[in-house]
Assembly symmetry: C2
Homo-oligomer: 208 residues x 2
């Protein structure tokens, strides 16, 4: 495996291309995007772009593999040794920050899911599944210890994903419904407050 040596310009231009491609792919999906669109957005000619990435799919692949790393990080950060409700609140906050700061990445992932995950299926069935199994076991141990209410750990995780990613993937809808006055930047703070209340409220054990 000889590592391809990269020049300074190569590193810069590849970064510009990936950023432009993220715009395009996250909005139109792989098939719905064209190399010309990406080249335009990157401010270069199509042949020039193809000098840095030989095929359209190479760009998409680079984006996805980079995304998947960042995708699992917040879940991995949940510690079995911490206070359960604090850990979950922290997870909500991290995922919500990702929706606010990296909405295009979230939409790229959503696009991949809608298409049936043709390119990331092995990762879903492998790495992701193992990680979720592991964290589900942690949640179950919290339940057994009476530190959170009895609940289905898998569907709890799905709900955390769904509610937080919603603010990136369905951003247009959220903003349209809230209107200009309530749809400003503070919608993420409102969401954080609401979601912490929702999950903490439902997970606080009956005793307390």
């Amino acid at each position: 495996m000889a590592a391809a040596p990269r020049t300074r310009i190569q590193n810069e231009k590849r970064e510009i291309i990936l950023d432009a491609a993220l715009d395009v792919f996250s909005a139109h999906g792989f098939r719905g995007s064209t190399i010309d669109q990406i080249a335009d957005a990157a401010g270069m000619s199509k042949p020039n772009l193809l000098y840095y990435f030989r095929r359209k799919e190479d760009i998409h692949e680079a984006l996805l593999s980079r995304l998947l790393e960042a995708w699992l990080a917040p879940l991995r950060a949940i510690e079995s040794t911490g206070d359960p409700l604090t850990e979950i609140r922290g997870y909500i906050r991290r995922k919500l920050e990702m929706s606010r700061d990296y909405p295009r990445e979230s939409r790229l992932f959503a696009n991949e899911m809608l298409q049936g995950a043709p390119r990331v299926m092995p990762m879903l069935e492998g790495e992701l599944r193992r990680l979720v199994d592991e964290k589900a076991a942690v949640i179950r141990s919290w339940i057994r210890a009476g530190r959170i209410a009895e609940t289905d750990p898998y569907h709890l995780i799905f709900s955390l994903w769904a509610t937080t990613q919603h603010y990136a993937d369905f951003d247009v809808q959220v903003r349209a419904v809230l209107g200009p006055e309530r749809g400003g930047d503070q919608r993420f703070e409102d969401a954080a407050r609401f979601l912490e209340q929702l999950f903490v409220g439902a997970l606080t054990p009956a005793g307390k």
Copy 2:
């Protein structure tokens, strides 16, 4: 407005085309789908398909307008006169049934959102926004009457949408994580149980 008279064959074939197009559009989005793909899936030649729908966009438009009606119905069905927690449980059940029985429609809508809602923006800012405002007022009246806990009605609605639609839009991921044994049909029953617990648990007023 002269209603275009339709023959029996026209009604049947248009239905077949719309069904095939729903398959294709919901997986690849508008730009990522081709007339040939749809014609193939519908079992007819491209010119034949274009005899029933003159333009690709006409098919997409027909699907969307049909979808939007069904989309608002469950929310509309929430009655201010009913028992709050029963109404919300019913809403969860109806939305979850839609995710189970009409996942392609959900994905078509999700695709439209990811693309920035170019074709349904007026509906989001008009009809949808008005309806959500109306139901948010209902929820607020429940809160004022002390029948459910204090909460943000808009983000509550977003969470209900997100959690229920997740089982259609991210179906691949849900099935991959649950695996073959737990990812069978009963995942919707498990989800219903979990979500009712989640929202009822968080919304039950402090007194009770």
